[in-house]
């Protein structure tokens, strides 16, 4: 995931990368389905209608933020309660800001009308898969878009069976559904390993995230940790040019 400093090709569109892009997000699909079903079940318990749930799936399109918001869904939606939900959503989803920032060097040569709508499909899984593809020299924007569209529609429909089967899904933890995202993250971290020096920002990120999680209520720890990691990487000196000890695959 850690891109080298060789210049990479500008973005282009071709049909060739659509299927590889879908295959790359394939491991996400069962987990996304399970996560969406658990979310649908939660919504049923909170007395949202199925139509409302589907509107939320289609528009907010941020699994973790939706979960967090609906878990703390108020009985009465006062303006203050809506503002609280908005702030909660922002603290969970502000990481998308950082993700779309990393896509600029790749997508920046595309016309705005192609690039900005593409950014609406930024998710953890789709973005991580696209970053890994880019890291290996890929430039075909269809890779990102193909996977992103499949993830979007999988998520869109995943809540329906969960909503209808809510009674059976009252404890999604029983099936390990809460491990879907952490396990996928962990799997993505392994190939990103490029030696201890490149992992220093990760340690900074982890320490700051744990501290903020402990000290500050809510979900600020994600953005605080991620920004600290990136800033620490910026403050570190450029590594000595040398032959890479282990070229990653």
């Amino acid at each position: 995931m850690h891109s080298s400093h060789i210049p990479k090709a500008p973005a282009y569109w071709s049909k060739a990368a659509i299927v590889p892009g879908i295959i790359a997000i394939g491991p996400m699909l069962p987990g996304t389905l399970a996560f969406g079903m658990a979310f649908g079940a939660l919504c049923a318990q909170k007395n949202l209608t199925l139509a409302e749930v589907e509107v939320m799936m289609a528009t907010v399109y941020g699994g973790l933020s939706q979960f967090v918001a609906v878990q703390s869904w108020p009985d009465v939606l006062t303006p203050g309660a809506i503002a609280t939900l908005a702030l909660l959503t922002l603290t969970v989803n502000i990481r998308f800001f950082l993700m779309s920032a990393t896509l600029r060097p790749w997508f920046g040569t595309l016309p705005a009308w192609q690039a900005y709508p593409s950014m609406l499909l930024v998710t953890d899984g789709g973005w991580l898969a696209a970053m890994r593809y880019r890291d290996h020299g890929g430039a075909d924007a269809s890779f990102y878009l193909g996977g992103g569209i499949v993830l979007y529609f999988t998520w869109l429909f995943s809540a329906i069976p969960g909503f209808l089967l809510a009674e059976q899904l009252t404890d999604p933890r029983k099936y390990g559904v809460d491990l879907v995202m952490p396990a996928f993250y962990a799997a993505m971290l392994v190939p990103a390993w490029k030696g201890p020096r490149r992992a220093i920002p990760w340690v900074v990120s982890g320490v700051v995230a744990l501290a903020v999680h402990w000290l500050v209520p809510g979900w600020w720890f994600i953005i605080a940790g991620a920004l600290s990691g990136a800033i620490s990487a910026g403050l570190m000196d450029e590594p000595e040019p040398q032959h890479p000890a282990g070229v990653s695959v």
Partner: protein, 105 residues
């Protein structure tokens, strides 16, 4: 549930969508005004790993031993097999099995 789409719920979703869309577009937009120097390049390169760790580590620590163990199992499988799919299934299966056996968390 007399109403199909309640207007107050729709307003809440609209506000949540607005902040999420702003997040998704904002980073890309801002980087149009940032010169990608080697320093900025290093910061961008460090982001994937940093976001992963920041999002997952507190959740893992908070989740207790079962979650930590399941994540470690997923990483071990990834090191051996380099297969994301098997890693996710392993993480879920280990947690589900541990909880079925009566381990909390």
């Amino acid at each position: 549930m007399t109403e199909f789409l309640r207007s107050d719920v729709m307003i809440a979703f609209a506000v949540m969508t607005a902040v999420t869309v702003a997040s998704r577009l904002g980073g890309y937009w801002l980087m149009g005004y940032v010169n990608v120097t080697p320093r900025v390049r290093r910061m961008l390169d460090a982001l994937p790993g940093s976001i992963i760790v920041a999002a997952a580590l507190p959740v893992a620590v908070n989740g207790g031993p079962v979650v930590v163990f399941a994540i470690l199992a997923a990483m071990a499988v990834t090191i051996i097999r380099r297969n994301d799919f098997i890693a996710v299934i392993t993480g879920m299966a280990v947690a589900a099995a541990a909880r079925a056996l009566g381990f909390g968390g």
